[in-house]
Amino acid sequence: MNKVIYLLFLSLFLSAAEHAAAQQSPKVVSYKIDVKLSPEKKTVEGVETLTWTNAGATPTGELFFHLYLNAFKNSQSTFMLEAAQRPDGPSFYESVKNDGWGYCEVVSVVAASPGNFKETPLTPVYVQPDDDNAHDQTVMKLVLPKSVAPGESVVLNIEFISKLPHKGPRTGYHQNYFFVAQWLPKIGVWMDGEWNCHQFHANSEFFADYGEYDVSVTVPMEYVVGASGVLADSTAGDGQKTLRFRQDNIHDFAWTAWPNYKTAVRTFEHPDLPTVKMRLLYMPEHQKYVDAFFDATANTLKHFGLWYVAYPYPQITSVDAVWRSNSCGMEYPTLFTTCVDWLTPKGKQQPLGLTIHECGHQFFYGLIGTNEFENAWMDEGFTTYATSRCLFAAYGEGANTKIYLARQGFGIPFTLKNVPRDPRDWIVDNHRGRGALDFMDRFSWDYVNRYAYRNNAYEKPALMLWTLENYLGDAVFNKIMKTYAERNVFKHPKPQDFIDIVNEFAPQNMDWFFEKMLHQPGVVDVAVTKVVSTPAAALQGYTGHGDEMELIKAEEKKKDDDEVFESQVHVRRLGAISLPVELLVTFENGETIEKQWDGEAAYKIFYFSGK
């Protein structure tokens, strides 16, 4: 009894934020990494000690690793073959050609499992679980001398050299700028009795288990470094410095180094949320956007924190990625990249929108670790939806800016003052043309093309959540989103987990909605195609019967104020997906009538009659 009262008190005094902060992820991985950056060779070289614990229900005798950088090893990798089909494919080839290719070379691996097997050298084998492309080396398999049972651990000592690609997508170098992401041999996820370790695809992001990262990077003295986690230690000597960053409960680690970065630090504070140190690394020419970068980050921590779940880490690092480096607009745990056009006019929601989106991924990706390979919409779609919500809550309508004479590095921005835009307009615009290309519930690389991937990862799911919000109402939907976030911190939820929560709170079962949204290509589009309103034809012909039968002739029709009008509203479903819609009809006398339509038929005529 006492215990119950104590717990009750505890939950009264502990805010939701502290709950989240106190929460710990299952420590599946523990990386201790020591690497050195060679700016001349464009390499990161060192040793990784990984302790991996089998958190699954079955034993495994094999370990699967991602070697993401091998996507840039040559033109025959699955990534590059797929990228060639992308609209921006040629620019990838242009940037890596000659010596711009990248790779992740595993030099040696030694494994030991305490109480199970002693230190044993292992030989990496490249495997291709997705497409049998023998040229693809983005997944490495290690065969262990003995199986590792659930709960048991294995310690691996991996020596590796990562050569960064020139202006690679998300990761790479541009002159003396380095953005180091997807750079280490990274273990896959052992779940449901198999390795979830996909190859690196052109239209795909990532998936990994939670744990601890302890990373020491050695760089030339003049380099400014930003990284996931918190700076724990730093030493210097010989023209070099070594910086040690640490963080628990994360599933990836990225860092950046550039001599010209400027840095700034501010603190995020809110009475209902934990305090967070915000560190910004930015291009010197973007000094005037520093306030905007911080403001957008703080607004994200605030709104996402209050709406969904509190940001539990002590620090967030935002990086204003170097212009044209290809690393702008990407999320990593506790670090994200954003950027801004040097000439962005006042009032334009840049860099706000992008900063909120990438910072927003700290929640839908960072804290809620969905599988980006298989359910891209669960991180990108949720983040796109929440970004527009946050943008609107924090900044209202955006300026409508057109960039004239736009070309790489140039443009004359001009704001159309008379045409304000909702921050969600672009979502509808893009979806309109791309919505019919494919359906949502597919693996990222299975979509018919890049536009279908973009649509089904970003626009369509954002619209789906927005529609659901309108359909269920704010109160119910906010509860759904908050519950989904709180229940899945440091977990790997799947689509059904979200649907189950929707069904738990919605007044009706919503499976029909998700069936249409997730498995049907097409858009929701309903048009009013015709409106007619004419005076009602007067009664003509015989009325009554027997002796009382009377003939009413056409010319006897009276003209008076009581004239009745008959109106029709024709509604047509233009999109393949049918959803219930509301029709609001306003009459000339100001009277309004609201009608519901299930939207199923291709065409529907609504009839009204009145004075």
Binding site: E285, W323, R324, K402, Y404, F414, N418, V419, D425, K530
Partner: protein, 325 residues
């Protein structure tokens, strides 16, 4: 002859032929009405029964436009947010001029634009002939008969200019930006790249200015000198411009500046004037008509001043030949 004198005499020539402005304006209005009517019917069909109708009269509705433009064809493609006024149309035109993306509003609109080039060629013939004529008085009959008389020359010049501009956009524009990218293609600094790109556009702008000027003088010469070959007149125009470089460039730069001033003032007025009531809407329409009139008057002032400058300079350079005539 001083630039200012050429300009002043040009203005007085246009003033003497005020009726030409009205004639051109009226024809413009008729042509516009021919195309605006189906557009109006179409809009009426689209939004006549929707609540967005009332809003659209005063304010551009982006959400509606986004849906409308998705399936827009032909003339409908000209409907775009920048039409909401202020300075945006100025930027639209500047972009078209420097990028040459004239087909970006669809081929129908492009063809319409081409048609307008030849309609303008017809009017230009009538106007320049009036300015070159010593009697310098306007009669509608003379205006149209001159327009018809010189149409084949001016149409040939317009065609040549179109071909030249096509080559300009197809070859010169990419060549200039290949050089720009060679300089700043790998730069880490956007401000540096921005200014080098601006330099590229400035070169393009100067070239457009020169080409337009050459064809202006070619038109003036073919009519003033009653030459048989319009192509020869392009060469004569080049010779004349470079022979009197300071004056010719100075005059056109002055006229251009006046044009920019007109656009800026009208842009500012239209930006500040946000119509909220029907009479304000009518006022905006009226101002827009004034801007069109000013545009026509200015274009005529270009031709009139150029004609004055050409006639005075060539008379000064070759007095013997002139007396013989």
């Amino acid at each position: 002859m001083k630039i200012v004198d050429a300009f002043r005499q040009g203005v007085s020539l246009v003033d003497q032929n005020r009726k030409a402005i009205c004639v051109i304006y009226l024809v413009n209005l008729c042509v516009a009405a021919i195309f605006a009517t189906p557009l109006f019917i179409l809009f009426h069909k689209q939004v006549g029964a929707l609540t967005v109708r009332d809003e659209l009269a005063f304010k551009f509705n982006y959400a509606w436009w986004s849906s409308f433009s998705f399936s827009a064809k032909g003339l409908e493609e000209t409907m775009r947010p920048t039409l909401s006024g202020g300075f945006a149309p100025l930027f639209d035109n500047l972009e078209l001029l420097l990028s040459g993306k004239f087909a970006s509003f669809g081929w129908f609109v492009f063809a319409l634009g081409l048609g307008y080039v030849f309609l303008a060629a017809f009017f230009n013939g009538g106007a320049i002939a009036l300015f070159a004529d010593e009697r310098k008085t306007f009669t509608t009959g003379r205006f149209f008969s001159n327009a018809g008389l010189y149409f084949h020359h001016l149409a040939a010049l317009a065609t040549t200019a179109l071909v030249l501009f096509w080559l300009f956009y197809k070859l010169l524009n990419p060549a200039i930006f290949a050089v720009v990218d060679g300089i700043v293609g790998d730069s880490l600094s956007q401000p540096l790249a921005w200014f080098v790109n601006l330099g590229g556009y400035l070169i393009l702008f100067v070239l457009v200015f020169l080409i337009t000027m050459i064809f202006d003088y070619a038109k003036v010469i073919v009519i003033s000198e009653k030459k048989e070959s319009s192509w020869l007149c392009i060469w004569l125009a080049v010779k004349f411009i470079f022979g009197n470089f300071g004056k010719t460039v100075g005059l056109n730069a002055l006229l251009l500046l006046i044009g920019v001033a007109v656009v800026l003032v009208s842009g500012l007025v239209l930006t500040l004037l946000q119509p909220t009531q029907i009479f304000l809407l009518a006022l905006v329409f009226l101002i827009q008509q004034l801007v069109i009139l000013a545009h026509i008057a200015l274009r005529l002032t270009f031709y009139a001043s150029e004609t004055v400058l050409y006639q005075q300079q060539s008379a000064a350079a070759a007095p013997v030949k002139k007396r013989k005539r």
